[in-house]
């Protein structure tokens, strides 16, 4: 078999076909300056994106930093089976899943409704002013968003709790309770990104053919019928594709935000895969185990994105790759 393949390949090998070799080499040589411009970028991707992918092999070792990748002991899937056996695994899975569901049934519809309402405004100045204001929080850092949340909500001196006390109520431990964790996360997400999320819908809505509306008006349709029969169908495909993309990315949901909101009191409902990797890996020093958890997350994420893309194509959309 090997022999056969080698024979087949031989005629195409560069040294026996100087013309092909020369033209490819000549083309490469001609573009040597372009390759020089490309080099730093490629080196960047190789070192900071592909070296870590190779380094993820430490998930199958008992990696010791002083021994390095080459001399650390190989343990196969030991860390993975440990992780799947931990009660932590189901906790992380459940926490991630619940936040993803909240995201899909609360955050996502709100962006659509907001876009539809904005689209009904005919006064351009008013519309643009509202847009300008609701886009602002998107550009603030998560530290600032969470910082403001803390300023308003801490139990002792938070503004809201001082108001509650001034009105004769009992202070509520918003930031240090299991019950309030998820509502706060979703509220922050809405505050930061619901306005920003309308952009893509508004762009789609701006592209709807005005003649459709005129024709429907001739037939006696009222505004709500126009909304239902023309506006909504025209953004249906965008809704489907964004929904699928969000499904595909749900493991990455809000890590920076959740990391800031976590504390000992709400960890049980708040810990997700990435915060667990950070705590177990870099704080407790279980490098290989946490790399295994991270790898599990990356692989599931890749499968979800690929699946989501296939699904999008089934719906007749373009997909993302």
């Amino acid at each position: 078999m090997m022999q056969h393949v080698a024979d087949e390949v031989r005629p195409a090998l560069p040294d026996s076909n100087p013309r092909v070799k020369k033209s490819l080499w000549a083309r490469v040589w001609k573009e040597r300056w372009l390759y020089a411009l490309l080099l730093p970028g490629i080196v960047y991707f190789v070192i900071f994106k592909y070296f870590p992918m190779w380094g993820v092999l430490m998930a199958f070792q008992n990696y010791k930093p002083h021994k390095g990748m080459w001399n650390s002991e190989w343990v196969g899937f030991e860390h993975f089976s440990r992780f799947f056996g931990e009660t932590q695994f189901w906790m992380l899975f459940r926490n991630t899943l619940i936040l993803a569901v909240y995201d899909l049934v609360i955050f996502f519809p709100i962006t659509i409704i907001l876009a539809l309402l904005l689209n009904e405004i005919r006064n351009e100045l008013f519309k643009r002013t509202v847009q300008t204001l609701v886009y602002v929080p998107h550009f603030l850092s998560w530290v600032v968003i969470v910082g403001i949340t803390y300023i308003l909500l801490t139990t002792e001196e938070g503004t809201i709790n001082r108001m509650i006390v001034a009105l004769g109520g009992e202070p509520v431990p918003f930031l240090f309770s299991k019950e309030w964790f998820r509502p706060l996360i979703i509220l922050q997400m809405i505050w930061k990104d619901a306005g920003w999320g309308t952009i893509i819908f508004l762009a789609a809505l701006a592209g709807v053919n005005v003649q459709l509306y005129e024709a429907a008006r001739m037939d006696g349709a009222n505004r709500f019928q126009l909304l239902w029969h023309i506006t909504l169908p025209s953004i249906r495909s965008i809704i489907v594709i964004l929904l699928i993309l969000r499904l595909g990315n749900f493991l990455d949901l809000g890590f920076e935000q959740i990391f800031l909101m976590l504390n000992a009191m709400n960890r049980e409902v708040g810990e997700v895969f990435d915060t667990y990797v950070y705590r177990v890996g870099l704080i407790q020093g279980q490098f290989s185990y946490s790399a295994a958890v991270g790898l599990f997350k990356s692989v599931v994420g890749l499968i979800l994105v690929a699946g989501a893309n296939t699904l999008a194509k089934k719906f007749g959309e373009e997909g993302i790759y």
């Binding site: 411009l37 960047y44 190779w54 309402l117 870099l282 490098f287």
Partner: protein, 286 residues
Amino acid sequence: MVQDKTIMSRLFDAANHSFLFLIAVLTVLPFLYVIVSSFGSMDDWIPKKFTLSAYQYIFSTNTFLRSLQVSVYITIVGTAFSLLFTSLTAYALSHKHLPGRKGFMLLVLFTMFFSGGMIPTYFVVRSVGLLNTLWSLMIPGMISAYYLIILKSFFQQLPEELKESAKIDGCHELGILWRIILPLSLPAMAAFGLFYAVGLWNQYFSAILYINDSTKWPVQVLLRQIVVLSSGGFGDSTQISQDSVAFYGQSIKMAVVVVATVPILLVYPFLQKHFAKGVLLGSIKE
């Protein structure tokens, strides 16, 4: 859009206007409250008299000034590096006849869907010697694959004849990029520069991961220490020294929030102008 004068329709318009007005106000209200209260005295939750004492205090501490310097430095230098290398790479990849172009594109694209994860990346950053240096905040995220691809398509849309004629005149590739492509792409470069700068200014997690030395913390990390950790948030106790858990008055926390946000608000009108043109959506036509 459509003129509709029925009572129901007018009622809806009135309700819709008031609702959106309310939403817009609610969106900026928490932030406005923080700005206004930062000029109040320590213990007022409704500011009673105007004072700059919170700002005087934070600007008198070395910790705060140093972290502000760090943030400004990494934002300026980091943006310059990011823009330079993103545009060099995008320009090279915009040549459709470049041998191996497809392979390089695949190399870039794949990183958008899969990564080695936090721990292996940490060890790479450590082994190239960036740990505990400000470079660790600028280099590991230097090129965004997403911006790179958008910029590449932007370069491809520029008329081919421009490059051809420059080549005939004996212009070097770098010369073409510098004298012809970049001047034509200034709005796009400004937009990507702003997005990179906002990202660099706002980042905090890479500093928590890669920098132990608190004199090298950017302002976002300091803000987290002052506002979140001092109120009992995530206690990764290995990184907090005793004095950072000290008590801070509300108005000091607010003043730090304001200073950490002012640069974003300053560039916001420009951000608004650029994303309105659709740069972020990848539909660059200009």
